[in-house]
């Protein structure tokens, strides 16, 4: 298929603003990605996959300005023991980061990693490339080609604490492209925490290879800066009896597109992707998930909840693809929105495509308001209307938060959700 000239022009206009880093081992992958990108072109609003989310500001040559939020609220995960890796406007900060040594893990910075890193070479751009079929994800290809920083994490054991990627946003015009590669070897375990807005505009890509019987946990809070924009991709491949669990908290943000592409490649694997999004006013949040079952007896869960008010928009595009032979698949998908007023909207496109005959897949999508009966019940017990509404809102979000396995992390996320709601109660 030939691309429309406008698409070619828009893509080249964006590419003109970028320089491809020359880092030896990744160069071939970057050049391949650029070829991929040119054949697809950057997304435009006429693309089916971008029907509900306008890609314009994610694609345009320079990032729209985004004011930096100043808040008294401390960083998420601040009280937990963890290894900190800090990026400021998309650039690794050695000063603010911990020493990158942790038992059971090798951590290297992407930028400047000129030596041949064999394990990373086998993954960089590879999972992203696999995830381009059957749906194109041009922003991820752009990321692979032009990422300027990120971390390469090779896990061979079970580290004593999580790795916390902290993304600070300082410049109102920063435009960051970060690419992380994570390989969790057989039987190893890793938890990654992410926190912060990262930049005025962020393009983030994480490739995660979870080997047989390995475990990967991920909890992310995207930062509360109202004007920030983000397009993120996670590409994961799961081996036999492995576990992948990811949860994202998004509070505020004028534009967020979070894509998660998972391939259950080994038997008896488990994948969970969950998210809670809170939007007030100029807020657009899009969760786009694609889970491919390509092995026997795997389970996948997608649990997404959004609370929207004052004209905020939530989008969910979630797909479960069960390939021929992927028998005993258990696929679950739910996307729900709580609309706190009539100006807000939720757009959902759940999809199932099944080529095996012995599978159980369920999906559901709802939009609703606060339950008046429950609200009256709480008020009749003396709980003021604002607090009662918050309790019911948290109760709505609970199903997503419960997908976080670690109770302490779940509690941390719940506190953030409650604080966001309380600030709006005034």
């Amino acid at each position: 298929m030939t691309l429309a000239q406008v698409k070619i022009d828009a893509t080249e206009e964006r590419l003109n603003t970028l320089d491809m880093p020359q880092e030896g081992w990744s160069t071939a992958a970057r050049e391949d990605a650029l070829v991929r990108l040119r054949s697809m072109g950057l997304p435009s609003r006429r693309d089916e996959y971008w029907k509900y989310t306008r890609p314009d500001t994610l694609v345009q040559p320079t990032a729209p300005d985004a004011a930096v939020l100043h808040t008294d609220e401390g960083p998420v995960f601040d009280t937990l023991g963890r290894l900190k890796i800090v990026f400021v406007d998309g650039v690794f900060s050695a000063d603010e980061s911990d020493d990158l040594t942790l038992e059971g893990v090798m951590i290297e910075r992407l930028a400047g990693a000129t030596a041949d890193i064999h394990w990373a070479k086998g993954l960089y751009g590879v999972l992203e490339n696999n995830g381009q079929n059957p749906v194109e994800r041009p922003l991820a290809a752009l990321n692979t080609a032009y990422a300027t920083d990120g971390v390469l994490i090779h896990v061979t054991g079970t580290p004593s604490k999580p790795i916390n990627l902290i993304y600070r946003h300082i410049s109102t015009s920063s435009d960051a492209i970060l690419h992380h590669v994570v390989k969790v070897e057989k039987g190893a375990n890793l938890t990654i925490l992410e926190d912060g807005p990262a930049a005025a505009r962020l393009n983030m890509c994480m490739e995660i290879d979870v080997a047989d019987t390995a475990t990967f946990h991920h909890v992310r809070a995207q930062g509360r800066d109202h004007e920030r924009r983000a397009a993120t991709h996670m590409f994961a491949r799961l081996g036999t009896e492995s576990t992948f669990k990811s949860f994202t908290l998004t509070a505020n943000g004028v534009m967020t597109r979070n894509e998660c592409v998972i391939e259950l490649a080994g038997d008896d694997a488990h994948a969970t992707v969950a998210g809670a999004a809170l939007g007030d006013g100029d807020f657009h949040h899009d969760d786009t998930v694609f889970i491919t079952h390509d092995a026997v007896n795997c389970e996948s869960r997608q649990v997404f909840k959004k609370v929207l008010r004052n004209g905020a928009t939530g989008v969910f595009q979630g797909k479960i693809l069960v390939k021929a032979g992927a028998q005993k698949t258990d696929g679950y998908q739910i996307s729900q929105s709580l609309l706190l007023d009539e100006d807000s909207q939720f757009l959902a496109k759940p999809e199932l495509e099944i080529y095996a005959d012995d599978v159980a897949c369920s999906h559901g999508s709802t939009s609703g308001a606060i339950d008046e009966e429950a609200l009256f019940y709480l008020r009749s017990r003396g709980v003021p209307v604002g607090e009662a509404t918050d309790m019911l809102t948290l109760s709505f979000l609970a199903e997503a938060v419960e997908e976080i396995e670690d109770g302490t992390l779940a509690e941390e996320i719940n506190e953030r959700l409650a604080a966001w709601l309380a600030r709006r109660r005034g």
Partner: protein, 251 residues
Amino acid sequence: MLNIKNLHVSLEEEDKQILKGVNLTVEAGKVHAIMGPNGSGKSTLSYVLSGKEGYEVTEGSADLLGEDLLEIDPEERAALGLFLAFQYPVEIPGVGNMTFLRTAVNSQRKARGEDEMSASEFLKVVRERAKSLKIDADMLKRPVNVGFSGGEKKRNEILQMAMLEPKMCILDETDSGLDVDAMKLVAEGVNALRNEDRGFLVITHYQRLLDHIKPDVVHIMADGRIVKTGGPELALEVEQNGYADILAEVA
């Protein structure tokens, strides 16, 4: 304590009058029962008093301890000392029963300008009161009313009543959906709360609950009005002869 005068209430949605001039006074320390056939307005009375939306008061008044109930929000009525035990307690997934109870207790205390109850003090009190209602630790931990049996829900209502220590308790068909044993347990819970400072209004369809919660005064309600008032013997009369005789007598 509770003074209802000439209360007229319509449904907001449809122009339908439900209460057509209710007069009722419940004194501190007394248990009043309201009986009546279906559709007589008993439950509407309990909802209007506790502040549920959807009803319009077209005439009359309702005071609790001298305060105009009809002018204040449901949470303010609760803080003032009004409690409604629901006929159908609402399930609230994702909110732990204990969290809910503690939020309710402390919200009311805060509204009255009292100190909040500490977590440890609350835990001690709730365990003790739950025990007498045969509510175990698991039921306290579970989300509010979710997966509770009919009897468990009603016991949970009484536990809330015991924790909130209201001045005026309204029980709306608390006996519905209960077997004899569950009803006895609930009645014991209610009786334990009876004292000279607290008033009760027990709304019921049948006399059997009143075998366990002995009323001082019994009212018969029909077509939005209290049509007859008497002692406990009035409930027995209903039990034996049904409502038809009484209604025919007052007609």
